[in-house]
Symmetry: D2
Subunit: 165 residues, 4 copies
């Protein structure tokens, strides 16, 4: 069996947060990636693999190593990693420094997909496109832009991704 | 003044259809592109220009020529054209055959943006990404994929874009 | 078995219109009433019965008689009828003139439920409340208001329901 | 000037919670009541007054007294109070025990209005209807039902409102 055109590695983040109506707070139930791909009428062969469902502020170095290991291990050469925005740049540096011969695009969302006003679908569409079109390397796709893994940071005041100064 | 990073040419299509609650039917009011870019937290400099707001089944050869002329005239080298899906492949052939030294990506939606279940945000995100990442040429971005202008058609039975056989 | 607290008779109307993405037009697939009741966390025992799924401009006198007959036949004394807004007042007159000893509330929507901006959930909530709280009689619940069956009309210019002058 | 047909007193609760995309948590920005009334095409004269925007778990006895005082003071005889669900029954008892000669309906939502899957519009529609149709008294409108102020509780395990046993 040949590999899918693209693998999506799910790690959680705002992207996948749901509202727990009994507790009145946000939590992770399960990923919405399959639903989002269906809504986007996405027809490229995609393998979705959930590695973890966590807030990226809680991500450990072991978990970043696990993401890198998975990128190395899977047969696909084009990979999208969904990730919380708060530490996306850190995971990008771990994965990017390994210089794998694959195109790896990290993306996320500022607002949960389950909210009406989410940027999730837009970001997923752009990440999947960048993953197909760009040469090997590790990138961050946010705000309609694509950043190199070693030249990106989230501006905490504006919530916008930008180049490192 | 230097050109924006990207120009979006709006021609209408399902993308921009609204529901007319007095007449009980779909119609064009105005484009939703600016709202969609805001929702996607898009931060690349984008110039949005509305050429027409029509159903692509009603598009004339004069209007296709107008789209091509506009692609040629504008200063930006990266262009997204929003377009009805029914005749997107025809406009792609008109624009693509001109062999402009620009990256031009046509996209659209199967379901209006104003519907909850639209593929519009996903397609717009992917089109903007492909327009930035691909070399000069004319493409169709639908279903998470990117097709060359001379090798794409909409399958009328499934509503899915595919290569010409 | 005792009757449900409330019966909802579905006849179609804008309420239940879906977008046919292959044909690019609005159509009826199936009713969204069960989904709407679930979304509203409605916990009164409700029996949902689909009589027809039509645009109310196409409703015949035979079909209005069928609605009246069903209201008479069912065991529930509290009934909501979902209906297209264009001829809701006509059906209200047919049902109301029969002077059944039941509380019957017709309601509908100006925008399909499947659109993000629908008034459907609001109208359904108000109709279910009026059906429980009002004495026997036939009413139209639209725009947050409740009208007697013989003193209501839809203003074609504004799309708003009002008393007959 | 004669009073509006209905006054809505806003106190916050899940109803009005927004997502803070910089902090990644739920918070209160402003009430969505006017937007919800517009979406519901509500055409009864409504006066909206924001008393507070708080989580009902944080509501003090002074604030409950303020709600009661406001119900007494305003000229309208039909009042809807939007309220967090966690202590709605407590405020209902404070207001209800005062035996005002007005129809007062407390309502809320299990899921924020800004989420796609909110029960807010349904509940608001039902509360506005009950407030118009019921005799003087204090009520809780949730789950499509209407409860007397002294015979209602939120079941913490199911999130559903029910009679006190």
């Amino acid at each position: 069996m040949q590999p899918a055109a693209l693998r999506i590695l799910v790690t959680g983040g705002t992207f996948d947060k749901d509202y727990d109506e009994l507790a009145g707070r946000l939590f992770f139930r399960e990923t919405h990636l399959q639903e989002m791909l269906r809504l986007g009428r996405c027809r490229i062969p995609v393998a979705v693999e959930t590695l973890m469902l966590i807030d990226s502020l809680d991500m450990t170095e072991e978990q970043r190593a696990q993401i890198l290991d998975t990128c190395r291990r899977v047969p696909e050469r084009r990979i999208v990693v969904t990730h919380g925005t708060d530490t996306m740049e850190q995971t990008a540096r771990v994965v990017g420094a390994a210089q794998l011969d694959k195109t790896i695009v990290l993306t996320g969302a500022m607002v949960p997909y389950t909210f009406g006003s989410s940027d999730g679908m837009f970001n997923l569409g752009s990440a999947i496109a960048f993953a197909q079109a760009l040469p090997a390397g590790t990138y961050v796709a946010m705000n309609g832009r694509c950043f190199a893994w070693d030249d990106v940071r989230k501006n905490r005041n504006t919530g916008v991704f930008e180049e490192r100064v």
